[in-house]
């Protein structure tokens, strides 16, 4: 057994309590340990990705209990890619939060951050459906804390909504798992796949209910319309660097859909055939459209970016809902792109918000306006899917993958029109914030009324760090564009692995007979 597999979960699980208990009053030490832990996770996940790149599936049996009886962690190409993405994103967000002093505005930012990473990485690695629920809870509990970090009345109110909504989601998750367990008698994903395939066709009403409930739960996490209501208010009122980290959380939902509906309820399983795709595709297209409209209508920059995140989830899930290897490969490429792009835009939004408040309106020129405007320009190009950045390639791949589908004109139409609307919305916001401000005199400056907690004095000591984080994310996007070829061949190999789950099943259930 390869013990490296559990290291990215254990490392934050050890560092986080250590930060709470030992480093309580030492912000510098907290920062050092948190950064070191995140760098460590990044290195470990890179090593795991290299191990997984040749297509082997690795299994880690917790407590050495063989697969259907104990909990397993499974590493394949998909989970390796997702944890590398998580680690890269986390590092950028952490550097930004340290650089702007966001982490010092509340007590436990770093500990919660590490717990959040633990939950996300665990959700990507686990091979057990109930364990997936537990890791969902870990990442959610940490996100509740991060969401209300630094306080403020509106943030608490948005926090209550967010917690209530997600608690309901968790309850639904338990109902779904209970139903599946009642039908199949197992919760190990590989074992579930075997048993679902063996189930007689007339005995599947309950199973279909369970599969649909599960899709509903993942759709809540992925903010698919009509279950997206939690996202705009929570992301816009959360500390925006935290919202940048949350960019990966919606992807956890997309990952879970991808994993469960290729492995357990795969396309060739008759009893649930078409169940996911038929429902998900229209929902994803509407999500995309509503996200674009939201971008056009947003009056606060945080809300603008939140709708940007929703519309990118729409594109991503459109590709996922096609459930063909080409479409899934495109979806994977787009996942990496949209996570980095959404995070970049949330960080830029935070810079704007710290300097002139959250409202999208002409205000006096802010400090470092040129640099921020350049970043916003690049980020907007990436999010809207304009050439030359990776969003263009991603959307092109998604549209190309949809070519053979019955609804191809709908898909193309919605993607293209919503891209146009997104461009208009972002251009409007950008020109109001960055260009129109030059026509104003400084004395008209008013602080945004009560919408945000009063800005704490930014610790300007290391003010270069936020830009390092932003330009790092931008560099990652550019790298993703230049290396689109290798990245795509990795994504294609991943999709091929997902649609041929025999290797996964054999590796996980291999020792079951002993």
């Amino acid at each position: 057994m390869n013990h490296l597999l559990i290291a990215p979960i254990l490392l934050p699980a050890i560092v986080a309590p250590f930060i709470i208990m030992v480093l309580r009053y030492h912000i510098d030490l907290k920062r050092i340990f948190s950064t070191a832990s995140t760098v460590g996770i990044a290195l470990i996940s890179l090593a795991l990705a290299i191990q997984a790149a040749d297509g082997t599936v690795q299994v880690y049996e917790l407590g050495n209990w063989p697969a259907p009886f104990g909990i397993v962690l499974v590493l394949d190409r998909l989970s390796a890619m997702m944890i590398v993405l998580t680690a890269v994103l986390a590092l950028a967000v952490l550097l930004y939060a340290i650089g702007t002093g966001w982490d010092a505005r509340g007590a436990n930012f770093h500990a919660l951050f590490q717990f959040q990473l633990m939950g996300i990485i665990g959700a990507f690695l686990t091979g057990d459906a109930f364990n997936l629920f537990v890791f969902f809870e870990v990442l959610l509990i940490a996100s509740y804390g991060l969401m209300i970090h630094a306080g403020g009345a509106r943030r608490f109110q948005a926090g209550v909504q967010y917690v209530v909504y997600n608690l309901l989601g968790s309850t639904l998750f338990l109902f779904a798992l209970g139903t599946l367990y009642a039908v199949t008698g197992t919760l190990n994903m590989a074992d579930l796949a075997v048993r679902v395939a063996e189930l007689p066709a007339e005995d599947t009403a309950l199973l279909r209910v369970g599969a649909m409930l599960l899709l509903l739960v993942f759709a809540i996490k992925a903010a698919v319309l009509p279950l997206h209501f939690w996202l705009p208010a929570s992301y816009a009122n959360a500390p925006l660097p935290v919202a940048a980290l949350f960019a990966i959380m919606t992807k956890v939902g997309a990952y879970a859909i991808l994993r469960v509906y290729t492995l357990v309820f795969g396309p060739e399983v008759e009893v649930t055939a078409g169940l996911a795709g038929d429902w998900l595709l229209p929902a994803a297209l509407i999500t995309l459209a509503v996200g674009a409209i939201g971008i056009l209508g947003a009056r606060e920059i945080g809300r603008l970016m939140a709708f940007g995140a929703i519309s990118s989830m729409g594109t991503l899930l459109t590709a996922v809902a096609l459930f063909t290897p080409e479409a899934v490969a495109a979806a994977l490429y787009y996942t990496v792109h949209s996570t980095l792009a959404a995070a970049l835009l949330f960080l830029i939004a935070d810079m704007v918000m710290e300097r002139q408040g959250g409202e999208i309106a002409a205000k006096p020129v802010m400090a470092q306006s040129g640099l921020i405007a350049a970043l916003f320009f690049a980020g907007a190009i990436a999010l809207a899917g304009m050439p030359p950045l990776s969003g263009f390639i991603g959307k092109l791949l998604v549209m190309d993958a949809a070519r053979g589908h019955d609804l191809v004109w709908w898909i193309w139409g919605v993607i293209l029109v919503s891209s146009l609307v997104t461009i208009i919305g972002l251009a409007r916001a950008g020109s109001l914030i960055f260009w129109k401000s030059h026509g104003l005199s400084p004395q008209t400056h008013t602080v945004d009324k009560g919408a945000t907690p009063p800005p704490v004095q930014a610790t300007s000591s290391n003010s270069a760090l936020p830009f390092v984080a932003c330009f790092g994310l931008l560099a990652a996007l550019i790298l993703l564009t230049i290396l689109a070829g290798p990245m795509m061949s990795y994504a294609e190999a991943t999709a091929a692995q997902l649609f041929a789950p025999d290797a996964y099943l054999e590796t996980v259930l291999e020792r079951a007979g002993k």
């Binding site: 109930f130 537990v134 809870e137 509990i141 509740y144 209300i148 306080g151 403020g152 009345a153 509106r154 608490f156 109110q157 948005a158 926090g159 209550v160 909504q161 917690v163 209530v164 909504y165 608690l167 309901l168 968790s170 309850t171 338990l174 109902f175 798992l177 209970g178 139903t179 367990y181 009642a182 919760l187 209501f229 939690w230 705009p232 208010a233 939201g294 209508g297 947003a298 009056r299 606060e300 809300r303 919408a451």
Partner: protein
């Protein structure tokens, strides 16, 4: 017994959903706890209802036993929902104390701005 358990789950869920749709945080939290009770009973029933049977296999004789796994799942679910309820009570209290209002929706100036809030 099946009818009793099933209707209890249904009743708890219905009451919980009704309370969750209220506008103040207190009934919403009560509703959430009712729904989590419902899901706990439901999980318990997924291992089939069985009375007076131990949750262990008997090595020496063919004796009826009950499925131990749902009991473990319920235990996890109870712990998590208990902790979550505590967290949501604290956050709701913080929201109430800082905004002097325990409405669950944020109508004041937010809905006027975009009308997108749930």
């Amino acid at each position: 017994m099946e009818l009793l358990v099933a209707s209890a789950v249904g009743l708890l869920t219905a009451a919980g959903v009704y309370l969750i749709l209220r506008r103040r945080t207190f009934p919403v939290i009560l509703g959430l706890s009712l729904v989590t009770y419902a899901v706990n009973v439901f999980l318990f029933a997924t291992g089939r209802l069985m009375v007076n049977a131990p949750p262990i296999l008997n090595k020496y004789a063919e004796v009826a036993y009950t499925d131990p796994l749902p009991q473990a799942l319920v235990l996890t679910a109870i712990v998590i929902s208990f902790g979550m309820t505590a967290v949501v009570v604290m956050i709701a209290l913080a929201a109430y104390l800082s905004a002097q209002d325990d409405r669950i929706d944020m109508l004041d100036d937010d809905a006027a701005k975009t009308g997108e809030d749930a």
